[in-house]
Symmetry: C2
DNA sequence: ACTTTTTGGTTGCGTTTCGCAACCAATCGT
DNA sequence: ACGATTGGTTGCGAAACGCAACCAAAAAGT
């Protein structure tokens, strides 16, 4: 899923998709979140073709999202485990799950619930918040160049000092 | 990116990926978040092939993530706009962006920052929290069957009343 | 030692999707 | 009427995917 373009876009979402956006990859990580570690387990749970699974696992190891360890045993089974980088996909994963629950399955028909072990209550919906914890709606956010912004980003999102506001206010969804 | 399998999995992430997991789709939504509305704008910003863009936009309209409106003007320009369902992708989008910022670009080299317009401060990192707002780490969460769980989900995540715990505690990352 | 099983692949091949460039139709401005 | 603009569609070669068969290493079984 990455022939030439869009890996090199100055956008962390594009780069994230380059690492975990291919078909099956996020579902492999789902199984890893659920405790699966072995090639055979992933294959049986997902029904993914073996050559594809091999390619995905190799890439996930190469990008530092999983580690591979060989253990003694019948055919030297490999154990794939999440790294810190891999575990940190969880918020994005859960955000996606909550979106699917809400807009596809319907919340009343969610296949699984993630609950707080301490209370048994379902976890909260992930929200975008200010640093002080205030929930924010899209209209209250703005996109500005970051420390790694290139010229194109500055042109697009930079404070247009020379007269006027940015042409398109990011995250300010207009309705009419 | 959806020949036969994995759309029908009883998993909201799988279903979400079926709608927005194809190549380019999330980047089209990015441009929509940034205010783009027209076919030509998406095409120019992304560099995506026109036939692909057409297919993606049609699907996004069909799944209720975008709306298409024709306006008077030179060639009857179409305006693609986010629906509520589409706007609600933003948390997942930002979670993915923050992951990319942290683990690929490096936080000191993030291409863009999303700031709270009121304070100018960067927004908080998205976290998984309990309903009372307590931040949760993976070890403190558990996956249990939801209201729409089928037999396979119950077998996998159901409380094993008949002796013993669930064989693999989801989200309890083991290290050794 | 020899065979069998398990594990985790690899290889070939047909199908689908992607990417590119050329072509096209409707509409509005002039 | 004419030409520019918009938003496509079509055809074709390249890449990715999906399936099934084949394979090699290593440990268990005998």
């Amino acid at each position: 899923m990455q022939t030439p373009p869009f890996e090199d876009q100055p956008c962390s979402v594009a780069q994230a998709l380059g690492e975990i956006g291919e078909r099956w990859t996020l579902l492999i990580l789902r199984e890893a979140f659920f405790g699966m570690q072995r090639f055979t387990d992933f294959q049986a749970r997902l029904g993914v073709a073996r050559n594809i699974l091999t390619a995905r696992l190799n890439k996930l190891v190469a990008t530092g999202i999983l580690t591979r360890n060989v253990a003694p045993g019948r055919g030297n089974p490999r154990f794939y485990r999440l790294t810190e980088k891999g575990r940190d996909v969880l918020p994005a994963f859960i955000a996606l799950m909550q979106w699917g629950d809400r807009w596809i399955a319907g919340e009343a028909k969610a296949p699984v619930r993630v609950v707080d072990t301490a209370t048994g209550e379902e976890i909260a919906r992930l929200r975008v918040c200010a640093r002080d914890g205030r929930p924010l709606v899209a209209r209250e956010m703005r996109v500005v160049p970051g420390p790694g912004a290139d010229v194109s980003i500055h042109r697009r999102f930079g404070a247009t000092a020379s007269g006027g506001e940015a042409p398109e206010a990011a995250f300010a969804f207009r309705r009419g």
